[in-house]
């Protein structure tokens, strides 16, 4: 049996799906992002130089504690501010991308925004999942 044509076709399909597969940039996949149908595609947005802050609940029931993660490393909020200020000094147009758990109290996100304000970082971007059902 001549398998060569089948291998050709299969290879073409394979390359197609490899190219079509969108490698979504997931800085931290364990975060349940909020749902917002109007969220714009992250790949189409010109976010420029970005500084990603992940805000994640540590999952302990009844304990009000969150972890601020930058590049997969947990750091205190004061360190978030220090790094934001350093980024701001390096690039005036730095964009702070906040990826936070949807169920967290807003104060934790607000704290990161306050760090941005104090570090003079104007551009703040919220990560969200663009699908229906956020109400």
């Amino acid at each position: 049996m001549n398998l060569a044509p089948m291998v050709d076709v299969t290879m073409c399909l394979l390359i197609f799906f490899m190219v079509a597969t969108r490698m979504v940039e997931q800085e931290n996949s364990q975060i349940d992002l909020p749902i917002a149908p109007t969220a714009e595609d992250a790949e189409k947005q010109e976010l420029g130089n970005r500084f990603v802050v992940n805000v994640r609940s540590d999952g302990t029931p009844g304990v009000d504690h969150v972890a601020y993660l930058v590049q997969e490393t947990e750091i205190p909020l004061s360190e978030v501010f220090t790094r934001l200020r350093a980024e701001r000094q390096r690039d005036a147009d730095v964009n702070c991308v906040i990826r936070a758990d949807r169920g967290l109290p807003y104060k934790y996100v607000q704290a990161v925004m306050a760090c941005c304000a104090r570090a003079d970082v104007r551009k703040v971007t919220f990560s969200a999942i663009p699908r229906e059902g956020g109400d």
Binding site: Y106, A111, R122
Partner: protein, 154 residues
């Protein structure tokens, strides 16, 4: 006739079956991977330029719409107040309808929409409020941030 020495080239047909097996598995992986990929979106905003390291918070521009989110003590979830008036129904689709009506009535879609939320409001509610504003046609959405909120969020 008996051939001696090397066989003719066409006699060596490589066995492609294992390769086809592997390629098929990879193909199925990518087909499933394509359909299951969760795309991530973004909601960009800018902090008002009046706040900053100097600490001045003199925002002179009066916002077109002010939205206030708060949690009631009776545990009924997130409550919404627009322009200091409580919404009759506390749903973000109602907020969207209200904002759309306001825009159709002549509100400037590039005007500033200011969202203020209490600390205990869930992040999803804040994003839903922002989403409602974007859906209603407003593009300049900003958040009021108090610079001393970091104290309780460590």
């Amino acid at each position: 006739m008996l051939h001696r020495g090397f066989s003719p080239a066409h006699a060596y047909a490589p066995n492609l079956a294992p390769m086809v097996d592997v390629v098929m598995v990879i193909l199925v992986f990518f087909m499933l991977g394509t359909s299951l990929a969760v795309t991530e979106g973004v909601l960009p905003t800018e902090l008002p330029s009046q706040i900053g390291p100097q600490g001045e918070a003199e925002i002179s521009i009066v916002p077109t719409v002010r939205i206030y989110l708060w949690v009631s003590a009776d545990g009924a979830g997130c409550r919404i107040r627009v322009m200091d008036e409580a919404m009759p129904t506390n749903s973000f689709s109602a907020l969207r309808a209200y904002l759309r009506d306001k825009r159709i009535a002549g509100a400037d879609p590039t005007g500033r929409v200011l969202i203020t939320a209490e600390s205990e409001v869930t992040y999803q509610s804040v994003i839903s409020a922002m989403d409602a504003c974007v859906r209603a046609g407003f593009s300049n959405i900003q958040f009021s941030v108090s610079l001393d909120v970091t104290a309780g969020a460590e």
